[in-house]
């Protein structure tokens, strides 16, 4: 589909529903993956399911944000190759009303969903770390501009991510690095049973005339944004809503 032969790509949040499928899809297109997440065991399992060779795992807890710089350097040291791509799928999506969104809680969500994203991009975009024409793709959400009740901290973190991408795109274009996000509406991973989803999300999915977005669809879009096919398209937050309201 898209040619990503020998491109070294770091996937943050590779053990999540979306990250895992993205890693598998990219490996099928020839990429060399570095899988990162909190759970080393889970990462090893995913490693076994990848196509091709030359992949690595690099467990890391994004909450240890001060260790990010060393973490990113260690990724280059794995095989002495600079990185070509970064896919940021790390994130938590808690449901908590305003009443319970105290500062500590909000801080923690911002730390994982936004602060660590910025720190990782900041370290990644160092010329000693990434190649020219590098590409960064992050997963945002429709919640960034239209969150539901209970999604306060999640929406705020995604809005921060999207607005920062517009600025970073302008700054990074000098280094020929492109950065985009994909704003998903409700995603239905293959492994999740529709019936156990919260009602509001079930409703969103039912309104999606095209059917829910699957991990595979998102993976294709990520691959497109990583590949030469997308040229130097940058600073975009691509809506992928599927449902038609």
């Amino acid at each position: 589909m898209f040619n990503l032969k020998d491109k070294k790509i770091l996937v943050m949040g590779a053990s999540g529903y979306i990250g895992k499928q993205i890693a598998i899809t990219l490996s099928k297109m020839g990429a060399k993956l570095v899988l990162s997440g909190k759970n080393e065991e889970a990462l090893n399992e995913i490693l076994l399911g990848l196509e091709g060779t030359g992949h690595f795992i690099a467990p890391f807890n994004v909450e240890d944000i001060d260790k990010t710089a060393n973490f990113i350097k260690s990724i280059v040291s794995l095989d002495k190759n600079k990185l070509f791509g970064l896919v940021y799928c790390t994130g938590i999506f808690p449901i908590r009303p305003l009443k319970n969104t105290k500062t500590d809680f909000l801080n923690n969500v911002m730390l994982i969903n936004f602060y660590s994203f910025i720190e990782i991009v900041r370290c990644f975009s160092d010329k000693r770390i990434c190649k020219e024409n590098a590409s960064i793709v992050s997963l945002s959400s429709i919640a960034a501009t239209n969150g539901d009740k209970g999604q306060l901290s999640y929406s705020a973190s995604k809005a921060a991510m999207d607005s920062s991408i517009i600025v970073m795109a302008k700054e990074l274009s000098q280094k020929n690095i492109k950065i985009n996000s994909i704003k998903l509406a409700a995603l239905l991973p293959d492994e999740i049973n529709f019936d156990i989803l919260p009602l509001a999300i079930q409703e969103s999915i039912n309104q999606m005339k095209t059917g829910p977005i699957t991990n595979k669809s998102v993976s294709n879009h990520v691959a497109y944004l990583l590949s030469d096919y997308s040229g130097n398209v940058t600073g975009n937050c691509f809506n992928v809503q599927g449902y038609l309201k």
Binding site: M1, T214, Y224
Partner: protein, 211 residues
């Protein structure tokens, strides 16, 4: 690589063929059969000759009585439905308030009404491909446009497996270097071919903007 083998792609535009020609060349290189519709026959036929392969066809926008007749010709010349339709809303409006009525009507017709009529015809045609992907191309200077209709249209047509998206192209400025304008063209070609391909079947009713 995205493949368009055996896919029939309709490109509707007005006089000159700038980006449309580049898009057509790229798509024909990927195996597509191109049907060009424009109002300048000389330029149109010349563009056809630069395409790879020889099944491509040109129709003059002005030769038919109405869109239905033209659309019918487009389907019946090879008895195949179209798989993708790219409508280039090329009519510009430097100033909305200083445009004469006649001109306003013409702009609406070229940028919006003819587009809707083509879609109506293809959605009702008996020779229909299983999936039709429609892309509406426009830029800043095409202030009268149907970009925001892509969601509504997709909603009306999703049962027919017809999906519609809009793509706003950035304006190339005169200060752009030649190599920059090449990159811009590549960006457009990449995005257009991606959006009308099966890879992007889940992208429906969106309005994207290329900077």
């Amino acid at each position: 690589m995205i493949a368009f083998q055996n896919k029939k792609i309709l490109i509707v535009t007005t006089n000159n063929l700038d980006i449309e020609k580049d898009i057509a060349i790229a798509l024909s290189n990927l195996g597509a059969t191109i049907v060009f519709v424009s109002s300048n026959e000389e330029i149109g036929i010349k563009a056809l000759s630069s395409l790879k392969g020889n099944n491509h066809k040109y129709f003059n926008l002005n030769n038919s009585q109405n869109i239905d007749e033209l659309a019918d010709n487009i389907i019946s010349y090879d008895k195949k439905g179209i798989d993708a339709y790219i409508h280039c809303a090329k009519k510009e409006t430097p100033s909305l308030l200083c445009t004469e009525n006649n001109e306003l009507q013409s702009i609406f017709n070229v940028n919006i009404v003819s587009y809707l009529n083509f879609i109506k015809y293809f959605s009702k045609s008996k020779k229909k491909s299983s999936n039709i992907s429609i892309l509406y191309l426009f830029s800043d200077s095409n202030k009268i446009n149907a970009a925001e209709m892509s969601k509504t249209l997709s909603l009306e047509l999703f049962e027919e497996n017809i999906k519609i998206n809009s793509l706003q192209l950035g304006e190339a400025t005169t200060s752009d270097l030649k190599e920059d304008s090449n990159k811009i063209t590549q960006n457009v070609i990449g995005m257009v071919s991606y959006l009308i391909s099966e890879n992007a079947s889940f992208i429906v009713g969106e309005v994207y903007k290329l900077k």
